[in-house]
Amino acid sequence: MISDIDIQAILVTLKLSALTVLILLVVSIPLAWWLAHTRSRFKVSVETVTALPLVLPPTVLGFYLLVFMGAQGPLGKFWIELTGQPLSFSFTGLVIASCIYSLPFVVQPIQAAFERLDKSAIEAAWTLGASRAKAFLTVVLPQSRRGLITAIVLGFAHTMGEFGVVLMVGGNIAGETKVVSIAIYEHVEVLEYASAHMLAALLLVFSFVVLFIVYGMNRRMQMGFHQ
């Protein structure tokens, strides 16, 4: 059956993915809005940096993150001064790395949704007396919901599946930084195929169920508007 260590790995993975998506939503919604509407000359640079994790090999990204967050790195040093704890090989460090690694998967669908928005609907809300904040919450977000759901699903799934970055930055500390993908790799390395199967199948089923529910919800919403 599933060992305690494996269960811990599952819990760490879920916690990591959920936290990453939550933080990324908070960061990505304003960032995506800015990218969708700015005419600034920095737009291209920011877009490029945001998309970098898509094309960088995870080990390259992981390596630089490790340098950056290590005890001698700028962020690592600062973190030690602030908390007394090192950032590398900790769950917190893993969350930061995951956020950077999964950023494009969350930003891009939201940005695309914002770019598709009916600008006049927002202006109509303003002329009807809605403050900018109210218009954003009651018109922009609902009309972008498909992009938001896509962003959540992609961000969650991508974080769950990450391997290279985790290995570089988080290492393999049970209950702290050991995630399912690393646990599977370890099982395979020592030829424990049955345990590897269990975890792999679990990830597969979980991913399937989540996607199925999301697509089902999307379809229902769409149908609702067209009945």
Partner: protein, 366 residues
Amino acid sequence: MTQLDIDIELKRKEFQLDLQISLPESGITALLGPSGSGKSTALRVIAGLEKPQQGMIKRGQRTWFDAEKKVFLPPQQRRLGMVFQDYALFEHLTVAENVAYGLPKEARDYHVNYWLKHLHIEEYAERYPANLSGGQRQRVALARCMAIEPDLLLLDEPFSAVDLSLRQTLRYQLKELVKDVNRPVLIVSHHLEDARYLADNVGVMVEGQLLQFGKTAEVFANPVCYTVAKILGWENFLHIDEIAGTTVKGKWGSLTLDEEPHIEMRWLSIRPEHVRIAIQGQSGLTATIEEITDYGVYRSVKCILQDGTIIHMHRAWDEPLPIEGSTVSLHLPLVNIKTLPSYIQSIKAYPKEKFKNISPALSQTS
């Protein structure tokens, strides 16, 4: 209720809007003009969706915009109803929720019910906008902004998204709706019929400038220049090459007018319904009948003068006409001929008195 005063200047890279206009306390005003003339931008400026560089906008006692005093009320505080070109309905809300959007909670039910009923859309209350026809969508958009009891109603090309067959019905409904609304209504359109049927006053805009403004019938009957005349559907234009006393000459021939036209006059114009075939003893311009098109109650005759200028003539369906290809003499009654300058600067640059001096045709009929 007092009127709406606008005097604004907005500069863009390749476009400048310069508008000075006062709307009466109630009634419909239409802004006509080709696309790119700035009429939609004008509407957006009034709504507070664009900020001009100069000028002021006042609605009654309230200042909505004053560049010098640095006053700029955002659209939220202007309390106006705007119907957007594509209606801009909230696709994720039902019809009833759309209408309720701008209302405070306690007043919601009453007003939503009232406006749904008033505009005959109660049966669609629970539907989503995607499942409505163009005409129904327009009524939802109207109900949504009427529900907040706006001080001013703005409509941007309100009929552009509906079939031609529906237009007349919707125009009628709109006229009925605003009839008992005691506040200014401003419509932007490039359809002459919208203005003719709906508007009490008409403004004509070209390249960001207001070239003419006045009572609808007056504006349609007395365009101030060639450009405006073309926009208002005038068809027949004879270019003036030379003015000698009361006689004007062009490649098409010459005509002697009642009065000597002003030196700036460059065109003669006459509406197709005023052109007729000269009877014996009447002077006329020699033309060839190119084509006769039957429109039922009238026939449109396309004539070509010797220099190639085309003159359209509308005659009653039962009036006998020479056959296509025959040569005729066209009579242009002097009383119906307008003399026009090619183009005028904005109204600001051309005060009314000057118009009268330069346009005998204008002062003659008014």
